[in-house]
């Protein structure tokens, strides 16, 4: 669990420390008070970047030259410290785990996995396929850390392959295509079994959120596990980069068997994603933190109790403009 977080020159916080508890943590305050900023900083400790899709320099407090986020984590009965520092002048982000610099920021995510839901969730449904792939990749990585290694390897293969395709060095493609086929089989297998495992409970859970409508996710791999890439060499050469494989896999959210992208209301889209996250928590019981930025904007009081019933196990951070008194007594509340 995340014990506390210290912010220096991060957004509207010049020097500030917040203490958290296991279970639910509410962050309450009026608009513009910095609720999302705190959640964003928590996100940095896990994903080393902003979930708002802004550059690192933009989260530095106006007029300052660096930001620093430090978090203490209690894990395996030990205290660990994560530190993220960004210096604008050098354009350099450094990440330390227990004072030791981390080479790969993606390793941070396996140290502190996070599930983050914000009002941008809609983009997961509305946006390009990469939005959905990234989200699904994050969830599978939480459930199975070796999956992240597959993705890292796969990315390296595609980079090298694209280089050769761009340079028209077909003769050297063989070993990379071989490796891509091997990794493709494993990635597609992981994704297919993930979606299969989640869809039935997802139907039931989404029903609770969508007033009786049901959601499922469909998965269409770009390439069958037993397809061979040499069949596409001419096509890929022509285009100059790799166009078949897991980096082109397609996921779609359906509500009552129709694409949510086209037929879903804005509220339904966010609720579908929230329900998807809760299904994931229920099925996989992962040891991850959960971050929900103003989920109650789209949920009524009954829905609120449903949401809370899914969050018994994971340490959770929820922002809201105000909070009923009966909640105030049972949970940790940070008021801005």
């Amino acid at each position: 669990m995340l014990v506390d977080i210290s912010l220096t020159f991060f957004r509207n916080f010049h020097e500030k420390n917040f203490k958290f508890e296991d279970g639910l943590n509410f962050i309450i305050g009026p608009n513009g008070s910095g609720k999302t900023n705190i959640l964003e900083a928590i996100g940095y400790l896990s994903q080393a970047k902003s979930f708002r899709k802004v550059a690192d320099k933009d989260v530095i407090s106006l007029g300052e030259k660096f930001f620093r986020i430090e978090g203490n984590i209690f894990r395996d009965e030990l205290r660990h410290e994560i530190e993220v520092i960004y210096e604008q002048e050098l354009g350099l982000k450094k990440i330390y785990l227990n004072k030791k610099q981390m080479e790969r920021s993606s390793r941070l995510f396996s140290f502190l996995p996070s599930l983050i839901s914000t009002d941008r969730d809609q983009e997961i449904i509305d946006g390009p396929p990469s939005e959905r792939r990234n989200m699904i990749n994050r969830l599978i990585s939480i459930a199975s850390p070796s999956y992240m290694n597959l993705l890292i390897d796969y990315k390296k293969v595609i980079e090298n392959k694209n280089f050769l395709l761009r340079e028209k060095k077909v003769a050297e493609l063989g070993p990379w295509n071989g490796k891509q086929e091997e990794l493709t089989k494993q990635i597609v297998r992981e994704r297919a079994s993930f979606i299969e495992k989640i869809n039935i409970p997802y139907k039931n859970i989404s029903k609770e959120f969508l007033n009786g409508k049901t959601s499922v996710v469909t998965y269409i791999p770009s390439m069958d596990g037993d397809m061979h890439l040499y069949r596409f060499i001419d096509e890929e050469m022509e285009i100059g980069y790799s166009i078949y494989g897991p980096h082109r896999d397609y996921f779609e959210f359906m509500i009552d068997d129709r694409p949510a992208k086209i037929f879903g209301s804005e509220g339904e889209k966010r609720l579908s994603i929230l329900a998807f996250f809760f299904t994931f928590l229920t099925v996989y019981k992962p040891d991850s933190i959960v971050v929900l930025d103003e989920p109650f904007g789209v949920i009524d009081k009954r829905g609120m109790n449903v949401v809370l019933s899914y969050l018994i196990k994971n340490q959770t951070f929820i922002s809201a403009p105000f909070l009923d008194n009966d909640f105030r007594t049972s949970y940790n509340v940070i008021t801005l």
Partner: protein, 200 residues
């Protein structure tokens, strides 16, 4: 800033190019050498000597001294029929330290990584076929990095040797993935060699 002899500045700049040496340690080493002129003379001599005497063997591309062919390649007793393929000259010593003196080696000079400019023509792989024939090699043991680049390189070599009568194995890829042999302790390395996996 106070005055520093320009030759000394140049030395510090050159020291900083060495692995693991930054501004501070470069500075310390340079000042140390100027105080201890005996060590400095020995170092000059030693640097000149390695530069003149150590070259790459024409057969295995590992280190040799004074001669075109290294003592490992000319050693008649190395007749086990095993040829171990490694990335760097220094890997030969690492493997040899746990494996004994029976094997021969072939240093390919890296692993495939087109994005970093390491393409097939940069690697010493096309002369492996010749060595198998001439030196009566029965088994190839690959000791390359356990990562995608290593995998791709191995799959290319497999293809290159597909019509040859030779068994090919790879030293067991331990966990965590990405740890190469220079970082392994001797015990783990020995285990990986013993547990090598047959590829062909």
């Amino acid at each position: 800033m106070s005055w520093v002899p320009s030759s000394l500045k140049k030395l510090i700049e050159n020291l900083k190019k060495l692995p693991g040496i930054g501004e501070r340690s470069g500075f310390r080493i340079a000042y140390f050498l100027l105080k201890d002129r005996d060590t400095l003379e020995n170092l000059i001599e030693s640097l000149r000597e390695v530069n003149e005497r150590v070259k790459l063997c024409k057969i295995c591309h590992g280190f040799s001294e004074d001669t075109d062919i290294c003592p490992i390649c000319t050693d008649e007793r190395r007749n086990s029929g095993v040829l171990c393929i490694v990335e760097r000259p220094e890997d030969v010593n690492i493997i040899e330290s746990v494996q004994g003196l029976g094997w021969k080696y072939h240093v390919i000079g890296g692993v495939l990584s087109p994005v970093r400019g390491i393409t097939l023509d940069k690697l010493n792989i096309f002369d492996i076929r010749d060595r198998i024939r001439k030196e009566n090699i029965k088994e190839i043991v690959m000791a390359l990095s356990p990562d995608v680049e290593g995998d791709a390189t191995i799959s290319y070599i497999l293809q290159l040797l597909s019509d040859m009568e030779v068994s090919i194995s790879r030293i067991a890829v331990g966990l965590p993935r990405g740890i190469d042999i220079t970082l392994m302790d001797p015990f783990t390395l020995k285990e990986s060699i013993l547990g090598r996996r047959k590829l062909k």
